[in-house]
Subunit: 289 residues, 2 copies
């Protein structure tokens, strides 16, 4: 049972976690802090939080759990403001989509990563955002990655693992560098591709009205381009070391494909498309497990 | 009322059209021809066709409607085999995803495009294919593009338009060159991007097992990479004049974005993502109309 959960960032992820814990009777009180006052009002109206604060320093007072669920760019400043009042008997964790930058920020602020901070990432994004999008069932059957370090206290990792399991998550542990490598490929790169395509076609649409002939395939392909721009700005900057080389690798593969199409090499193109379809089937088979 | 519809190519599109016409009592008899014998057996078992033929020349005999619903690469050979028995009182149309190559093939085979051939394209693709995927409701509220030429007989265009309206389609007319330009952007380019990404990540997955951490965003983004490889081979080769320059334009935009990320230009990146989200919202607003 959590006595008082402090949510720093009351958006889709933090709000959904609070709702899920409340629905299961696992938290007595939830307090929130967020830069957007209207969002906090909404969160209170929706019963996500009991009350809110303007400053994280006030918000964490008396809390036994602190969950940082902001865009990752905000994390270093949050660590700095929490440092003076950091308590060893509190469980601290985050939900950031990148992990190396969060670990680096902790090292920078605290000298070493505090043993009671557990880096985490629930894989439960959506193109909707804000407290109004929160949903207590969001984490059911979703993967949650925890990236404890050698210095992270095992009892803290276990508590955070139990937290996510209690709201339906399937928890695995992964080195934070490997986390960023894997998600650069399966999440960050696809988001960049979708943003770039949608922006480019948006400019064409202004001249030629092409969108009125786009259909379901385009809707699904570009769904992730409706994601929160600020959140994705932070992710791209935080994980640029992984993302930029992957974009270049993709541009190279795409250039080769353009050459294959231009010279009409049917065998190679058919092999590529067939291999792509088989790879996606492998992904789908794993998703259903 | 159609007396005898001849389907050349009994897949998702042709099969769904036949089912829809049957369900509405608008066709007395459907005959089919297809290179895959097992697919024809399936189509007969599912009540899509009454009987089938090995050769288009036999299949079209006695038909008052001929619908060519094959991958576009097969169309020139079909025109050649139909030419000797071409009849002026029959309505001929196609469902190909590209139109310039179909018009060119007709010119090549017949000298000029026959007045009773109406180039068409129902926008109702799916990643499933074959007669077993056919569904009588497929065309409800879906757009159908017709690309008649100056020499196409107006009575023929009207009949084909009525056909598609009768199965729920929303018919518009578009110059065949403009059709290929628009669909290169909203359909062909996204398919190529999805195929290339999925193939590239499939190779990484063999070494690093990244797919097990991919989630709903990735599933939707790559859905179109499960499309029929042979159909997309034909489309890419048929419309390569439009597709290859678009791929290059996209690679250029992507390279600029990689540079923006690499140098950490937050303002430019946020503007790009914000513009992309706004563009997608414009698309969604139109889709719902």
């Amino acid at each position: 049972m959590i006595e008082r959960l402090c949510l720093i960032g009351v958006g889709l992820i933090g709000g959904s976690l609070a709702l899920a814990l409340r629905q299961k009777g696992l938290v007595r009180e939830v307090v929130g802090v967020d830069p957007h006052r209207a969002n906090l009002e909404t969160a209170r109206q929706l019963g996500i939080i009991d009350r809110f604060y303007a400053d994280p320093v006030d918000a964490v007072k008396g809390a036994d759990w602190v969950v940082m669920a902001t865009p990752v760019g905000a994390i270093p400043a949050i660590f700095s403001s929490l440092k003076p009042g950091w308590r060893n008997d509190v469980v601290y964790t985050d939900t950031g989509s990148t992990k190396a930058d969060v670990v680096d920020a902790a090292r920078w602020v605290f000298g070493e990563v505090p043993g009671n901070f557990v880096p985490g990432h629930p894989i439960a994004g959506a193109e909707s955002s804000g407290a109004s999008a929160a949903n207590g069932a969001l984490f059911e059957h979703k993967r949650v990655i925890l990236s404890p370090l050698a210095e992270t206290r095992p009892d803290m990792v276990e508590q955070v693992e139990m937290l996510w399991r209690s709201v339906g998550g399937r928890v695995s542990r992964m080195d934070y560098r490997h986390h960023d490598e894997v998600f650069a490929a399966t999440s960050h790169l696809p988001h960049v591709l979708a943003f770039v395509l949608t922006e480019m076609l948006g400019r064409k649409d202004e001249q030629q009205e092409i969108f009125q002939y786009a259909a379901g395939g385009f809707r699904d392909f570009t769904r992730i381009a409706s994601s929160d721009p600020r959140m994705w700005l932070d992710i791209c900057l935080a994980n640029r070391q992984e993302i930029v080389p992957l974009i270049e690798e993709y541009r190279e593969a795409l250039g080769q494909t353009a050459e294959i199409i231009a010279r009409g090499d049917a065998d190679k193109l058919l092999a590529l498309f067939t291999e792509a379809r088989a790879a996606r089937q492998r992904f789908l088979d794993q998703l259903e497990k």
